[in-house]
Structure formats: structure tokens, C-alpha cells
Amino acid sequence: MSKEIKNTNEVTENKNEMHLDDANRVRVLSPGMMVLKRFLRNRLAIVGIVIIVSMFLFSFVGGMLCPYSQSQVFYTTEEIRKDYAGATKIDQFQFQIADGAQLPSDIYSKILIATSTGKTTFESREGALYGLDKLGENVYVVYSLEEAKLLLKKNAAYQEALEAGRNSFESDGTLYFADADENAYTATEVAVASMSSFTGYAADAKFSYEFYKNALAAVAGGEKSFEADGTNYTVDGDVISLDGSEYALLLDLNFNAANSGVYLSPAYKAAAIEAFESGAKSFTFADDNGTDVEYEIENKNGQYIIKKFQETRVIDTYASPSKAHWVGTDANGMDLLARLMYGGRISLLIGFVVIFIEVFIGMVIGGIAGFFGGHVDNLLMRLVDVVYCVPSMPLYLILGSIMDFYQASATARIYLLCVVMAVIGWVGIARIVRGQILSLREQEFMVAAEATGISTYRRIFKHLIPNVIPQLIVFASMGLGDVILAEATLSFLGLGIKYPAASWGSIINAVNDSYVMTNYLFVWLPAGLFILLTVLAFNFIGDGLRDAFDPKMKR
């Protein structure tokens, strides 16, 4: 007050000419402007307005600007130790099949039986006869046989083959095969069987059948060179070279990459074999870029599994705040900032929709009860009492579980929640409106309005309602906070808004997992603060409005 007097004094000093009742001296404000002025003077209310406006901007504009949607799942690459390759000692014959030839299905077992019993022929399940011609240790050429009439004893080619330890020979341009009992067969070459595998030094190396056969023969026979497909190859131990450079490697281990498309080079295999033989647990080998990668070896009865840390695509759960995700991600790998924005939309929208319905029902019922009085009033107020007595929290919970049971969709839940909360919550407003109208009805201006004979409609809408509105606005702004709080509580209990739709309450729901509560503060803290701030802001505004509308409380 003293401040105002000082101001007036200053004015008088400055404008000495002015009369006491000069219109310029006293600025007349309309009641609405007075309220606004008083409201704007309230610092807490301004803070509230600022918070609410920024919440709206954050949820609605922010949601539009945010590059992510609320249900977008993010992935990340993570180093996971995975199987990289496997190596097995070859204990079964590997077949390189001649062009156009076919092997019987039971060749693997038959050939094992034949070689272990020292037989040179065997019969397949289909009844076809096959012969084995030994080139060296565990290296055989497989022939398909048909009986032929040939006198072996006088055949020079046969004698020559016999001396060389071979079973096949060529005579008169035909390939023959002779078993241990000196029965002769005409032979067709089908495959070459060995217990070793070839690896090309070039990733795309392809070997012909002739190469396989001659290479195997050369290695088995300890020869220094061989010829295949018109090319000369040199042999040095297990390495076959072409024109002085390494061309192929013979191994008695079978390597398989865990993922298709991965090429295991001979050098890599050599490094692996060296590690196997030394019994090391791991070895390093430079990858394509020349960086050393560590590989771990697991030995299971002669079967080696090579493991390596590999980058794998996984859902980015509970990622800490970073440049890409300012608030981190939640349990489903969804961006928390986006969810906070979209959740804010739902929380704010539910608040406003519910309050709107509440005010509508409350005004109609309270207005009718207050205006008409008597039996109507009595009846309606008993209805208000009944609704007031229905305990709201258990009721919401029951409705939530009913919705769960009928598997209501996320949007249906939102609508239903709005309606139910409004249907429970309107009684407070109805009571206020009724009380207000009851007291207004008795006042002189209403008596005067009745005396002038204006219609009931005009009396209600022109004279009564405008006088109720201040109270309503105060109640609604405070009620907004309560509705947001109730919705958050329900969503927190998992009965309100559900995945994939977000609400602030459902984001905090994550703390039900105490591991998340303890370790991922960024998941639940922001949402909780947002709820607190928004509800607080609505309460500040309601408080400020109450003071502004009711200047009596000001001293």
C-alpha cells in the first residue's frame, strides 16, 4: 500500500497541473483486467505458467521436432564372443567327385569297412560294384566296376600295375581294374577319396578333379611335381605351388567358418593348426586390415572351436544418455526423450479432456440442483453423495484389470480412462457449482434480475454462470494436477496407459524392477520430475487464480 502512495506522490509532483479527479490520474480497470493484473503480480503463478507452457512446447512441439517416434526401437552393436570357425580332424574319407559321376549314398560307411578289412572292392546298397585303387596312405581312387573278360596273367600292363601296388591299369585304351582274387573289371573313374582337405591361397580358387587326383597322388607318392590340366605344379610337403608361388594347401583338418561368406585363408589355418598343436588356449592373427585379432580355442575331443569377439546387432536397452539419445533408452531400446515427449502429450491431454468432461457434467448437475432447489436438489445431491462414496483408487484398479482381461488396445484404454476418471471426478465440481449458485440466488442482483422479468435462460447464462466461473477455473486448474497425478499412478501400477503408448507414469513403471531403480536413474528420474513439475505448476496457477479472483484475501 505504502508503495502505491509513494507512486501517487511522484505522479503529483511531476504533474502539478493535474486535478485530483482528473481521469488520467486514475486508470479504471475492468474486473477482468484487475484479476489479470493481480494474477501477473503473483510470482508463483508466473512460474507455474512458464512451466506449463514449456511442458506443452516440450511435448507437442518437441514431439514434432524429435527425429524419433515413441515406439521406435534402437539397436546397437556389441562385442559378443561368438563362434568364428570350427576345425575337425578328418576321420572320414573326403570325396572329390569326377565330372559327371555320382557316388552311392552309403559310400562313406562302405569305404571305411573296405579299407579297414583290406578289401579292394565293395558293393553298394543298390548292388553296384566299386573298386578302390590305393595311391598312398589313405588316398584312394574310386572306380565303378563292371565285370570284364580279360586274361590278367598275360597282360603286361597288369603286371606293371601289380608291381607298383596298383589295382587299375590301362589296356588297349580301356581302363581295367583287378581285385585281389585277380578278377578283372572294366573301370570308370568316379572319385578320389582322401582324408585331407585343400585350401586355395586365393579366396576364389577352384580346383578341378584332375588337380585333386594328381595332387593327392603326388603328395602320397612323395613326388616333387605333378601335372594337371596341362599345368605343372610343384609339391613341397603339404604345399602345392604354381610357378613358384603358393597355390594350395593340404590339411588333415577340416575347417568350417561359422558364418557363410567368411574365407579362412591357408595362413590363418596354419596359424590355427600351430596353436592346436602347441595346446595354446588362444592365438592372434592379423585380419584384413592388418590389426591383430585374438581368437580363443576350445578343444572338444579333437574338435576345435575357435571363438572371437564379434560385433553383433542387439537392442540398445538402458543406454546411458548420449548424443544420440539425450536421456538414454529404456528396457525396449526406445528413446526416452521421445517417450517423455509423447508421454507428456498423453498426460496433458488426459488431464484436459477429463477436466473438460468433469466441468461439463458438474456444471449441468450442480447448476440444475442449485437453481431449481427443492426435490430436484435433494435427489441430485444424493446422487452426488453416492458417486462421492465410491472409492476411486480400487475402482480404477478393477477397471484396469477388466481392460486387461478384454485386452483393450492402447488407444481404447486412453479413452476409457478419460471417461471413467471424469465420471468419478465430477462430483466435486457439482458441489461447488451448487453451493455457489445457492448463495448467488439469494443475492440482490439475482432478485433484481428476477424482478425485471428476464427469462430463466438469460438469468442462468448471463447472471449466474459468469459468477460461478472464477471458482470453476480455480477448481479446474487444481483438479488438472490431480487428474494427471491419478493417471500417472494408474499407469505406474501398469493398469493405465500401456506399451507401446507412453505416459509419464508408465515410464516410471520401470522402477518395479529394483535393478533398474538402482542402476538406471536416468530412466525414472526425469519422468517423475516432469509429473511433479507439471502438477506443481497447475497448483501454482490455481493458487494464483484463487488469490486473483478473491482480493479479500489480500491485505
Partner: protein, 328 residues
Amino acid sequence: MKKFIIKRLLISVVLLFFVSLIIYTIMRCMPTSYVEQQAMALATRPGSKSYSEWVAQLNAQYGLDSGVVQGYFKWASRAIRLDFGDSWYWNQPVLAKFSSVIWYSFTLGLVTFILQIIIAIPAGIAAARKQYSMTDYTVTVIALIGISLPSFFFATILKYVFSVKLGWLDLYGIVGRDFQNLSSFGKILDMAKHLILPTLTLTVVSVGGLMRYTRTNMLEVLNSDYIRTARAKGLSEKKVINHHAFRNTLIPIVTLLGGSLPGLFSGAMITETLFQIPGIGYTSYQCVIQGDIPFVMFYMVFLAVLILLGNLIADILYAVVDPRVRVN
């Protein structure tokens, strides 16, 4: 006065009838998976009746086969004799379960209630005495923060700070791990220790309302003519506040507090659930989730009775405390 009370009581009974009818109707919409589950379990026993027969029998047993109105009257006629049936989830009479858990809730409610009075009334009065001072702003802001705090969020923060970071208190439950080995005094202390965080949560969340209520009423009283008279008389400010203003402020406050007395028994569903205090709130929360119709039905009606009782007490107290009301 007698007439007034009797009239209010009769109205309350009528209201209770309608409220329980509404509650019963809603309860009947609940998925009764319990009955189906039970029937399934019973039907698998050797030599048992078929599943559908069991469902029919159980439905008849629980009065679920008749219509809503018929079923309601069946329930009500039993409820009047305080027979609320057996809880499905707890496998014991509803009232037995109720009486075994209600005291946890009552203790929690009572301690909160006392703390609330101790904190809120002096703070509210202090704020009103110096309106628009720093004290007033602080009290208003604290009160509004308390009102605005989501109880689950505040409880989580408390748990995070006191249980996880500091490790002073347990996260959940009413008793510690070695409860059985404690002496009887130690047992009480252990339970009290477990009630600290829930009490703190409830107090902070609910203290704001009373604080603001006290402040508003005190302001109203301080603006009234008789206070101006008392000051004009030259009474000391202490005397004005403590004798003239405070006593008059007490009228609405006592009415409010008296009306909230029955609420001490209603339990705090959210807070009890968060801290897993086995009070009536947590018990009924589990029942709601499990679809235990008899217990939830009882709890809802119990709450309705408490609300009606609260209104009744408030009305009567209003007449008792304020002689002006009695004269009218």
C-alpha cells in the same frame, strides 16, 4: 441434535445401499478367472466331476450364477450379518484376513496423522501470520510440492536414497530377515524401522493439504472484526494469535480432522504396495490383481462406510465445536 443424527444415519444407510449396489455391479464385470482356475484344478483330481460341472457348482457357491440384482441381494443379506464370505486368494474368511492386516494400516495411518498435525498446523499458522513473507512463500511452496508429489515417485526416491545408496533401511516388507530371532521389544523396533519410509512418504504427500487448509482458515480469522477489536484493545500479538485467532481457527480444523478419523482405517493402497507393508491396502491390491471378488467387494464397501462415517462425524463435530451452528 438426536433427530439430526438419526436423520443423517438413515440417509447414510440409503446411500450405502446404492453405493454397494454400484460396486457389486462393477465387481460382477471383473474377469472371474479364479473360478475357472479353481474348477480346472478340481477337475484334474482323480474321479472328479467334469470341468463344466465344477464351474457351475463354484458359480452357484459364490452366487455368480444369478443375475446382478438377485446376486446383490443375496450378498447384502449375508453382509448385514457381517458374513462377507471367504477370500479366494487368501483361503480364509474375509473378516479374519481383514482383522489380521488392518492394524498395520491403522498404525501407519495414525502415526502419519499425528505427524501431519504436528507439522501442518504450526506451519500453516506461521504462514498466515506473516502473509507474503518468506515464511509464507516457503510454507506454500512446500505444501504445494507435497500435494503435487506422486507418492510412488517420492517413495522411489526415498528407497533409492535410504535403502540403496545409504543402506540404512530395507527396501520392502514389514519385518527384517532375522525377525524371528529378535526379542519382543526388538521385534517392535524392527517393525517400526520398516515403517519409517512409508510413514515419511505418506506424511510428506498428505501434509500439504492440511497446511494450506490451516493457512486459509487462519487468514480468514485474522481478517475478521474480532481480531481487529482484540488488537485495538491493545492485546499483545501473542495473546491475539494464541487465544483469539487460534481457537477460532480450530473450529474448521477439528471438523476436518474429525471427519478424517475413519480414514485411518482405509489403508494407503499405493504406498503400502510400494513398500509391501501387509496392511489392508496392499492386501486388497493383491486381491484386485488376482480377481478376488469377495475381498475386494468387502474392501470397497468398507471404504464407502468409512467415507460416510467421516462425513457424519464432521457434521456432528461441526455442531459440537461451533456453538453458532447449534443455535441455528
